[in-house]
């Protein structure tokens, strides 16, 4: 089958699923899932075909990818010397895209399947799957886009579908507000992104991603009407919005109002990674603007520690995961900022899997305790829902960066690269975040699965493990969470050297090499050979150590029940600890008051400005208009007073007129 057909098919299948389900889903009732899920499965197959072909560079895929043009979308030729603005709707697949395709289609598929069980009792069953398909369409276009504008389209479409899915339970006021907030906050970033795109067109006279990047990286910075760093900042703004980086991170935690599969798919595994993907995609642009990369790193690592600090005290299980997502995304941005693009993508993949896993687990937990999300009313669930428990522990270990699970490899590579590329501060903060990560994850595990049950009494007896349609995907996600890291880095560091294979590039690094090579050498990043008993070893040890420390602290405070290892929970210690640092505690608890800040900025001040404008419009602008009318009419009324009805008055008026007339004629006649 020709790839010109196969590549569009990846998008077309879920699109068809969406259209059909939207049209007739209501009638299908509980059978509504077949079409969309089937569509996604097929699309996964197609994607895998493309991925394999692309990564193995077999025809028609060259090393730097292969593109399909569908139709001429916007033909706006320029007149009088203006550049032609002709946009083609087209797809482009290179190694980076391929890697993303794996994540998106696989996790997407699994979430679809999982939802069959999770949403089984929901009234909007068909609607949910329709939306999910719509999201798949948008996300796939996003990774496949070959032009900035198409990318922007997808960018907004994922926003739309996330809006729809967050607000899926529209009767819940909070859900409605959260969805709206998500869309609008994203729009803030998109403004920057849009301006960036315009700047790109102004600079390069094309919006094809590859051509424009080529121009941007080749020419000297001075050559452009809009300096490159400005362009990069604009594009970065878009990424900040979509990937919920500080200061636009506020929407993601609220987005947890959506059904859990949505949180897993969109707000953990795929959409929120779009920003990372885009910056990686635009690496030549950023490489051409190193100062902006520093900004990226700073924003990323700051978000990481900020979110982690918040995650440590949250009691809503999903919110903990949400903040952890923020924090991990912060890692990725930091990694991009320090020039470790490969590491960023690596973490993107592993994180996608284990965070997806964790969310689905949390969903399973919530399901088990009847839609309870507060961990303070959980505890001791380990025995009741063993499969969920087991998979979630795997996920926790993976994210905490304990070898040999996936998280370790990616996170360690990020930290290592940060150090080696001379961003010691990023590395340092990264380590602290690692401690926190391990801590809050095992705090979550402890509060949820260990210790005595705090589930309220009438739910207690009804706690049950989820159906297999839900647990199977859990396991399917758990496997990569364990092995993916090792596989993707093999035979490169750290495993390769450890097992005596020196100076090999890892699998993923090999795949992405053609995408990032240019930027790497423009940044002057040379791949120094890996010294196990040198700096790299030290870094390795450090990251392992901090992970362990984090876990231990968590155990000390929130107990542990792992076969032999057992410890009771010590709430009093937690109290004592929080009492020691009251400010930090309150700050963390109140999410550093960012929502309040927004409330002040937008609700109070913004509302005042809007009301002021409305007042100005009504009273001043319209007031002047009506005022003119009023003055005219009043003038008429006053003039009418002359009409007294008395002949003599009229006559006098005429006489005066006569006098004036004669007088003026004297003047005129005399003046000629």
């Amino acid at each position: 089958m020709s790839f010109d057909l196969l590549i569009p098919l990846i998008v077309a299948l879920p699109l068809a699923g969406f259209v059909i389900t939207a049209a007739i889903g209501r009638r299908l009732g509980k059978q509504a899932h077949w079409i969309p899920v089937g569509a996604v499965v097929l699309s996964w197959l197609a994607a895998m075909g493309v991925v394999v072909a692309a990564l193995t560079n077999q025809a028609p895929f060259a090393e730097n990818g292969y593109g399909v043009t569908l139709w001429q979308w916007i033909p706006a030729p320029g007149v009088n010397g203006a550049p032609d603005f002709v946009i083609n709707a087209g797809f482009f697949v290179d190694h980076l895209t391929a890697v993303l395709l794996i994540v998106v289609t696989t996790i997407g598929m699994l979430v679809h399947v999982y939802s069959i069980g999770y949403m089984a009792h929901d009234a909007g069953y068909w609607r949910f799957f329709a939306y999910l398909n719509l999201f798949m369409v948008s996300m796939l276009i996003l990774v496949l886009a070959d032009s900035w504008l198409v990318l922007f389209v997808a960018w907004e479409l994922v926003g739309l579908s996330s809006y729809l899915l967050i607000g899926f339970w529209y009767r819940k006021q909070s859900a409605a507000l959260a969805s709206k907030k998500a869309f609008i906050v994203n729009r803030v970033g998109d403004v920057g992104f849009a301006l960036g795109i315009m700047a790109i067109f102004l600079d390069t006279h094309t919006l094809s991603i590859h051509d424009s990047l080529g121009v941007l990286s080749s020419q000297t910075l001075a050559a452009f009407p809009i300096p490159v760093w400005l362009v990069a900042l604009g594009v970065f703004a878009g990424a900040v919005g979509k990937s919920a980086q500080f200061p636009l991170h506020v929407w993601l935690p609220d987005a947890m109002e959506g059904p859990t599969p949505v949180s897993a798919l969109i707000h953990a595994a795929t959409m929120v990674n779009a920003g990372v993907y885009m910056i990686a995609r635009a690496n030549p642009l950023f490489a051409a603007a190193p100062e902006v990369m520093t900004v990226v790193a700073a924003i990323g690592i700051f978000t990481a520690i900020l979110a982690a600090s918040i995650a440590m005290t949250q009691t809503d299980i999903k919110r903990v995961l949400a903040y952890s997502t923020l924090s991990q995304l912060g890692y990725m941005f930091a990694s991009l900022g320090v020039g470790a693009f490969t590491a960023a993508i690596f973490h993107l993949m592993t994180h996608g899997f284990f965070k997806g896993l964790l969310f689905l687990d949390s969903g399973s937990v919530i399901h088990a305790v009847h839609e309870e999300q507060d961990m303070r009313r959980m505890g001791g669930l380990g025995r009741r829902i063993p499969q969920t428990y087991a998979t979630m522990v795997i996920g926790a270990v993976a994210i905490s960066g304990i070898p040999p699970l996936a998280g370790f490899f990616s996170k360690d590579e990020i930290l290592g690269e940060a150090w080696k590329n001379g961003f010691a501060w990023v590395w340092a903060i990264g380590l602290i975040v690692a401690v926190m990560t391990a801590f809050y994850m095992f705090r979550l595990i402890g509060l949820t699965f260990w210790g005595k049950s705090r589930v309220n009494s009438e739910v207690e007896p009804k706690i049950h493990e989820s159906p297999s349609v839900m647990t199977v995907p859990l396991w399917l996600l758990a496997i990569p969470s364990v092995v993916l890291g090792a596989i993707l880095s093999w035979p490169g560091p750290p495993l390769g050297p450890l097992l005596g294979q020196n100076d090999q590039t890892g699998l993923l690094a090999g795949w992405l090499e053609p995408v990032f090579a240019g930027a790497q050498q423009q940044l002057g990043r040379s791949e120094a050979s890996f010294q196990l008993f040198g700096i790299d070893g030290a870094l390795l040890g450090a990251s392992i150590a901090v992970a362990v420390i984090g876990v231990l602290i968590a155990w000390r405070l929130f107990g542990v029940e792992l076969g032999p290892i057992r410890a009771g929970q010590r709430p009093e210690r937690v109290k004592a600890l929080t009492a020691r640092v009251p400010f930090l505690y309150r700050a963390s608890l109140n999410k550093w008051w960012f929502d309040d800040l927004n409330n002040l900025l937008f609700v109070v001040i913004g509302g005042w400005v809007a009301n002021g404008a409305a007042w100005f419009d009504r009273v001043v602008v319209d007031g002047i208009v009506n005022g003119i009318g009023g003055v005219t009419r009043r003038a008429g009324a006053d003039l009418a007073r002359v009409q007294t009805g008395r002949v003599q008055n009229y006559a006098l008026g005429i006489a005066l007129g006569l006098i004036v007339m004669a007088g003026s004629y004297f003047v005129i006649a005399g003046g000629r």
């Binding site: 008395r646 006489a655 006098i659 004669a662």
Partner: protein, 200 residues
């Protein structure tokens, strides 16, 4: 008794009229003509003032007759006897009718000043004075390009004009009178139309 008063009044009136004539005769270079004009003019103006200022409407009418007689006199001086004659005939005739109508119309033969004069009377006076000033300024500021000495207008000449050059206006005036009469008769005719409330 009243007769005496009338006599005195008449004497005063005559005095008013004659004094300026005498003055003019004495100081104005002794032309009899001028004296006569002065007399007529004074009479005319005084009468006119009486017309506009007296309260008794009938006396106003009588004063107007006097005024027109004086005017006729001036016409004679201007050697337009025909006009003078017409003046006397038409106006005395017309005016007598006018005054009769007036009596027939207004029950109150004379009324208080409030009933006689408009509140804006003084403004009217002012306007009139200004008008007079304007006119006299214009008159004395003007050299009439083709003005010559005063000559009599031969009646034949008038006749020819009337029946040759101005025959059209002459005819038209008859039409005008006809129209006026028809309309006037209709309006004055008392007939109780099936009247209903006023409709704007």
């Amino acid at each position: 008794m009243r007769a005496w008063l009338y006599l005195i009044a008449a004497a005063v009136a005559v005095g008013i009229v004659v004094t300026p004539a005498i003055l003019v005769f004495i100081f104005g270079g002794g032309s009899f003509d001028d004296a006569l004009l002065a007399a007529f003019a004074t009479l005319m103006l005084v009468a006119a003032l009486a017309v506009v200022s007296m309260r008794d409407i009938i006396r106003c009418g009588l004063a107007m007759i006097v005024c027109f007689i004086a005017l006729a006199g001036i016409y004679v001086q201007l050697e337009a006897p025909l006009v003078a004659a017409a003046q006397v005939i038409v106006y005395i005739g017309a005016i007598s009718v006018l005054v009769l109508f007036a009596i027939m119309l207004t029950q109150t033969k004379s009324g208080s000043a409030r009933l006689t004069f408009q509140t804006q009377a003084r403004w009217g006076a002012l306007a009139a004075v200004v008008l007079l000033i304007l006119v006299s300024l214009a008159v004395y500021g003007t050299i009439w390009p083709n003005a010559g000495p005063r000559q009599p207008a031969a009646t034949e000449a008038i006749a020819t004009f009337l029946f040759h050059d101005y025959v059209l206006p002459f005819e038209v005036v008859s039409v005008l009178l006809l129209a006026a009469v028809i309309g006037g008769v209709f309006l004055a005719k008392r007939e109780d139309i099936t009247g209903e409330e006023p409709t704007l």
